[in-house]
Symmetry: C2
Subunit: 212 residues, 2 copies
């Protein structure tokens, strides 16, 4: 059966974005450095249409994360800022540019109704009736393949607390952000089993199975 | 030169003790399980005078942590509960029994004045004039060897924030405690460099150098 997989880069003090987030600084103060390990990789650059990059111990982790994904699930803040009023005019197309790196249907959990948005080969569908409905739609779109849950912390924490996730991979970066979006905040009664840990330059990848 | 080394077991959500701590439950709800990986080890059991135990990937980590330590530094809550009034009558000798596992001078940071307490080959000295004074005394007692900083989170966070620590090792356990004593809370502007990560049964050991 297809799985719901969650992965995210997290600071050692538990944040997935730094303090003082804004439309112009969605990752907050210091938060961009959470992703340095990834954007240096050839595997990441290739999936985003860029040449070059490194091959190291993170490569297999990244390739595994990109493999067998049939649909994506994310919060509104990870799609893009809310924009003026009802998504502004002209509508804002999110953080991801004209050719988003997902290449699968993505379901965005939001309070703002909006028609689906197709950019290149990624269609964003905006779901306003809750996490479980979004997950159901993502599962259906994914078919035999897995659903990939991304942030932000809010949506991820809700999905984790509701027991909707099968696998968690945290890319732990030796940064102390001191504030911002805190992952695993008030998530309890979730039993995890360590699958593996991989040391790589500037990051350690910790992978867990959720025990159901 | 001798180093100040900090190590502690931490839940995946960043706590070193669970919620609802009390004199009868100093590690709080669920907190005891933070130490399961350690107390199963032969290396730990031996250092605490017990026979038996396991040898696994955590063994070398534990042996390294026990090696070359000349003095200890800890907060009052890690030594023991405050007891009635001025340490009660008869004086409370802390959590550690008649034969504490330290075997080196230990400096306890506290607001309560008290004469030094010797139990077997461990002498606890109670320091009431602050962390830097306690560290200075610990350094002097340690000589060429290292100073080992233990918790609780309060004292550890203060020492980390003040830039007094050279090495940090976190034993990350796949537990979500959902509350309690939070490590690295409000510690920022501390630059860390990953030394290594070691995967072991039920825990991953993450070791960092503090960049000065």
């Amino acid at each position: 059966m297809s799985k719901v997989r969650f992965e995210i880069s997290m600071s050692l003090d538990g944040y997935v974005a730094g303090p003082d987030q804004s439309e112009h600084d969605p990752l907050g103060k210091g938060g961009e450095a959470l992703h340095d390990w990834a954007i240096e990789l050839e595997a990441w650059r290739k999936s985003h249409g860029h040449p070059g990059g490194e091959v190291n111990e993170s490569t297999a982790v990244m390739e595994e994360q990109l493999d067998n994904i049939g649909a994506g699930l994310m919060g509104r803040k990870m799609f893009g800022p809310p924009g003026g009023g009802d998504w502004g005019e002209p509508p804002w197309n999110g953080w991801w540019g004209d050719d988003p790196p997902f290449h699968v249907p993505v379901f965005v959990i939001t309070h703002h109704k909006r028609e689906p948005l197709t950019l290149s080969d990624t269609t964003f569908t905006f779901v306003t009736d809750g996490i479980e409905s979004a997950l159901e739609q993502a599962r259906e779109a994914a078919g035999e393949r897995d659903v990939k849950l991304s942030g932000g912390a809010d949506v991820a924490n809700q999905c984790l607390a509701a027991g909707l996730v099968d696998e968690v991979e945290l890319h732990v970066v030796p940064l102390l952000l001191g504030g911002g979006e805190r992952l695993l905040d008030d998530v309890r009664d979730l039993e995890l089993e360590q699958i593996r840990a991989i040391e790589a330059p500037g990051v350690t990848h910790l992978k867990y199975r959720v025990v159901k």
